[in-house]
């Protein structure tokens, strides 16, 4: 009986007018989809090099207010439209623990004081195991906070989520962005996004499930990914993109291997759609994050752990001259009981007043904030 029904459906299915009708509908549906993809503007970076202000060298540092957690890590920073600074980081008992929260604190630019850190995300509403690596993005659509949500296992079982805020104070619930076809797993975020002229953003992401590779995701104002461009291969992760013109940019990568490597970089000439093969900067490090920024004279600065073994040294280096300034240099053992002498995960931004701000993890217990101007760079 069933085979008779199937035969009837098949017989009906191959009738010529129906076939032609379905084929016409397929042509229309394909044309609609192709047109939507085709009409996207070519990617064009918005470049914001800081103004060259004639001033004396300036370098100051402070700790961000404590969250009274056992552990803090991976700070991010963004300048709000009123010139206040917004910082976010995560903290809890330890990485991937269920008690981890993402905290935000705001620096009032008139009083110079940071607000008391406030927990805004712990992943429970999004039904995830833990959260980490917040990245703040401020553009004409408001403030966005991208972060990593661990679904299963460790960091490699993560996905990327986003929260919105009109002002940095009130936040929407988190929602996921789709960056990978495989259960949407394995993708992480850690570096700042770069604005495109059409209102989309270039969000540096990286893959850690099975194999590692860095990529640049183009994300629209509705948090929909409209392109993902590979930027390299294993063991490169955590791309940090510095745009130099509307179409040109340099990306620096973390060498994520057990053996010492070098900070590598790749370049693009088409707004991040395609990337060159990676090359060496000659800066030796091992499996630690890198941050970079553009100087008014179009040269670059990078902040990285300038040591082949651990993260006890953190330096600001000018490229291509190679002159450096030590931000941290601790001769004591890296691990000393519960103390972890690690100065890592630098996040560097330039603000509209011509200054640079870097925040980084200080011994995994505090977030340090260093402010400097171009005159202080060696």
């Amino acid at each position: 009986m069933q085979s008779q029904i199937e035969f009837a459906i098949l017989t009906r299915a191959v009738s010529r007018p129906r076939v032609i009708a379905i084929q016409l509908l397929l042509v229309c549906a394909a044309a609609a989809g192709a047109w939507r993809a085709y009409r996207r503007p070519a990617p064009s970076f918005v470049v914001s090099a800081p103004r060259p202000l004639p001033s004396a060298p300036y370098l100051a540092s402070e700790f961000l207010p404590s969250t009274h957690t056992n552990f803090v890590h991976a700070a991010t920073l963004a300048e709000l439209p009123n010139h206040d600074l917004l910082a976010a980081w995560y903290g809890g008992t330890d990485e991937i623990d269920p008690d981890v929260n993402i905290f935000v604190s705001r620096l009032n630019h008139t009083t110079g004081t940071w607000s008391t850190p406030r927990a805004i995300e712990n992943g429970r509403a999004a039904r995830v195991k833990s959260v980490g690596n917040p990245v703040l993005v401020v553009d004409r659509n408001g403030v966005r906070l991208f972060f990593v949500a661990v679904i299963v296992g460790g960091w490699s079982g993560s996905t990327i989520c986003v929260k919105h805020s009109p002002d940095g104070e009130h936040w929407s619930p988190a929602r996921r962005i789709v960056t990978s076809p495989f259960f949407n797993l394995g993708m992480l975020v850690r570096s700042p996004a770069v604005a495109y002229s059409d209102g989309t953003i270039a969000l540096p992401i990286y893959h850690e499930l099975r194999r590692k590779w860095p990529a640049l995701a183009r994300v629209d104002a509705n948090d929909r990914v409209i392109d993902v461009a590979h930027m390299g291969a294993n063991p490169l992760i955590q791309p940090w993109v510095v745009p130099q013109s509307a179409t040109e940019a340099t990306a620096f990568f973390r060498w994520s291997a057990r053996t010492p490597g070098v900070v590598t970089y790749a370049t693009t000439r088409d707004g991040g759609a395609h990337w060159s093969d990676w090359r060496s900067t000659g800066l030796v490090h091992r499996d630690s994050a890198v941050a970079a920024a553009l100087l008014p004279d179009r040269s670059l600065i990078a902040v990285y752990n300038d040591t082949p073994g651990d993260r006890r040294k953190l330096a600001l280096v000018h490229l291509p001259s190679g002159k450096s300034l030590a931000l941290e240099s601790d001769p004591r053992p890296a691990f000393d009981g519960p103390t972890r002498r690690e100065y890592s995960y630098p996040f560097l931004i330039a603000t509209s007043d011509g200054r640079y701000h870097v925040v980084y993890t200080w011994q995994r217990t505090k977030i340090r904030h260093v402010t400097f101007n171009a005159a202080a760079i060696p």
Partner: protein, 148 residues
């Protein structure tokens, strides 16, 4: 349990079509259609997920964002339509879902395949291949025949 639902994410249109087929007591697809759909899902999953996990030096997923992806997929469906209208209708449903779009993804691959149908299809292909291999063994013995 909630985390499992979170992990599974959104289903592809062919997976929904196969589930509908099950609900309709297998009256939507013929056995030949079902086999064709599963072999298509198995081959696409193998290439797409191998590439995503870094085992292939190709960026297959990116093709799903391009303007030619829906055209290529529609051409395949147009060629399939005279042989199987249910398969062409499934492809049309996937294209319409992508055009709307009904999920958060703007990548055609997320509407055409997903890891669940991929795993089922690869499992089915493996079982079929093993069955075929086993069925060939006595024939080879027969083909050899008695000497002399």
């Amino acid at each position: 349990m909630t985390r499992l639902v979170t992990l599974l994410g959104t289903p592809s249109i062919p997976l929904l079509a196969l589930l509908l087929d099950l609900l309709l007591r297998r009256r939507l697809f013929s056995p030949r259609d079902r086999r064709a759909l599963l072999w298509f899902a198995a081959s696409l999953s193998l290439v797409l997920y191998s590439s995503t996990l870094g085992y292939l030096p190709l960026d297959v997923y990116r093709a799903g964002f391009s303007s030619w992806a829906p055209i290529a997929f529609a051409l395949l469906a147009i060629a399939t339509a005279p042989r199987s209208l249910p398969l062409a209708l499934t492809a049309l449903a996937a294209l319409i879902a992508y055009d709307v779009p009904i999920f958060r993804s703007l990548n055609l691959f997320d509407y055409v395949v997903d890891p669940i149908i991929g795993l089922v299809a690869i499992g089915n292909a493996a079982v079929s291949a093993a069955g075929w291999a086993l069925s060939q063994r006595p024939r080879r013995r027969d083909a050899a025949g008695p000497a002399g």
